[in-house]
């Protein structure tokens, strides 16, 4: 055992444990040391599971390696990996981020029966007619009439928003939330947006101005950088 230089340093924080892993040692050596360290640990009964944040420095872990670490750490049922934190991202991942954070500008009418589907944010210059549908993984901004269905954050992003010059939609959907138009004939609204209100646990419609307060990190890339 190389005890001269520690490959793994463990620190306790109020949110659990932080594991610093030296980014110069081989992955195998790290697994060995970690399993040694863990074997010294004798958990007491009824202790709560401790979340662990793994700081990787300039090391990149692929999915298989992450899985190996995960299995090792959670083997004793007293730790669970909360997050991996690395200074480096894989090129493919970065490209996906870029794609998801780009705003796509589309100029057309989405008519009844048509579906417009994109990754990232969408700026539609044109209408979504009744029975038409736009779907994105990010935000939806419509310069035109939203009369059909808009589904923002389709992969589960509950912070996504839907904004339109005029909206009287069949339905608004954000992540796994759905709201639909009332059964009585209602007036539409101008320059408003739909977003999930956490307290009310539903989609609410509000003035566009609230976005600057409620969705500060509306730019997709920042959102991605902050939340992984």
């Amino acid at each position: 055992m190389l005890d001269s230089k520690q490959m793994i340093t463990i620190k306790g924080t109020k949110d659990g444990l932080t594991l610093f892993i030296d980014d110069h040692s081989s992955f195998e050596a790290i697994l060995d040391e970690l399993s040694d360290k863990l074997s010294e640990y004798k958990p007491k009964k009824d202790e709560p599971v401790v979340p662990v944040t793994v700081k990787l420095g300039d090391r990149y872990l692929n999915d298989r390696q992450k899985k190996q670490l995960n299995e090792l750490i959670s083997a004793k049922n007293c730790f669970t990996i909360h997050a991996f934190d690395s200074n480096v991202v894989h090129r493919d991942e970065a490209l996906t981020w870029k794609e998801e954070s780009e705003i796509r500008v589309v100029n057309r009418i989405v008519r009844s029966g048509q579906v417009l589907e994109y990754v990232g944010d969408l700026l539609l210059v044109g209408d979504v007619n009744p029975g038409g549908k736009v779907i994105t993984t990010g935000n939806i901004f419509i310069m035109g009439n939203l009369l059909g269905i808009a589904h923002a954050g389709v992969n589960g992003d509950r912070d996504a928003v839907i904004a339109a010059s005029y909206m009287k939609p069949n339905q608004l959907r954000i992540a796994d939330y759905i709201s639909r138009a009332p059964d009585y004939d209602s007036e539409g609204v101008y320059m408003e947006c739909g977003l999930i209100d956490k307290e009310q646990d539903k989609i609410v419609i509000d003035r566009l101005q609230v976005l600057s307060r409620k969705r500060k990190d509306i730019s997709g890339f920042e959102r991605r950088m902050l939340n992984g």
């Binding site: 009418i109 008519r111 009844s112 029966g113 048509q114 209408d127 009744p130 029975g131 038409g132 009369l147």
Partner: protein, 265 residues
Amino acid sequence: MGEAIVITSGKGGVGKTTTTANIGTALALMEKKVCLIDTDIGLRNLDVIMGLENRIIYDIVDVIEQRCKLKQALIKDKRFDYLSLLPAAQTSDKAAVTKDGMETIVSELKQEYDYIIIDCPAGIEQGFQNAVTGADKAIVITTPEKSSVRDADRIVGLLENESIDPPKLVINRIRNHMMKNGDMLDIDDIIQILSIDLIGIVVDDDEVIKASNNGEPIALQGNSKASIAYRNIARRMLGETVPLQSLEDEKGMFYKVKKFFGMRT
């Protein structure tokens, strides 16, 4: 070389066949050479409205399956030398009509006629596809009802996939008192949703039904509102600028229709 125009709507019963008969008749009145094609296989109507039912010997399926020449199947109109009808089959299997078959027929007719007007069946299935295949242009018919406008919107969307000019719109069966009371969509609402150019509005008129029953399309009659409306559509197709009819009986009331163009030629 003539041009082929498909008359379509998505929804049934909104006036495709009536419009086909009347636009065709109106163009013939203006001395154009016109051929009407009924593609509503199994539910043929156009021959009845034109008053030509008794003269049918061959139909479009006979032509496609080469039981007769195209010329033999064409029925010459009673009133005009250069108005003909290619009737739909009443009994044959719908699948008999193919895109290729339609394309061949339409391009052959374009050699001889100025306008080929194709009456499309309801729906968006094969019958619609066939009717649209050979067409250069399209006219979409809607009534001022939500469901009809919805289907028209669907059709306009589907036509985007075809190599066809952006379609023109006819709003049919307008009932002025209902529009005024807000019980029907008004013309501006419809145009805003569909955002295509309007080429005509036709009032709901009992005379249309009577005329169709007598096999004499209303466009032949002098001065009823509907007959003028159909003749105006034909004039706009020829590139004339004709103002929209006032829907009121008294003069003075005009709709503020923002988008209104004649059919590009």
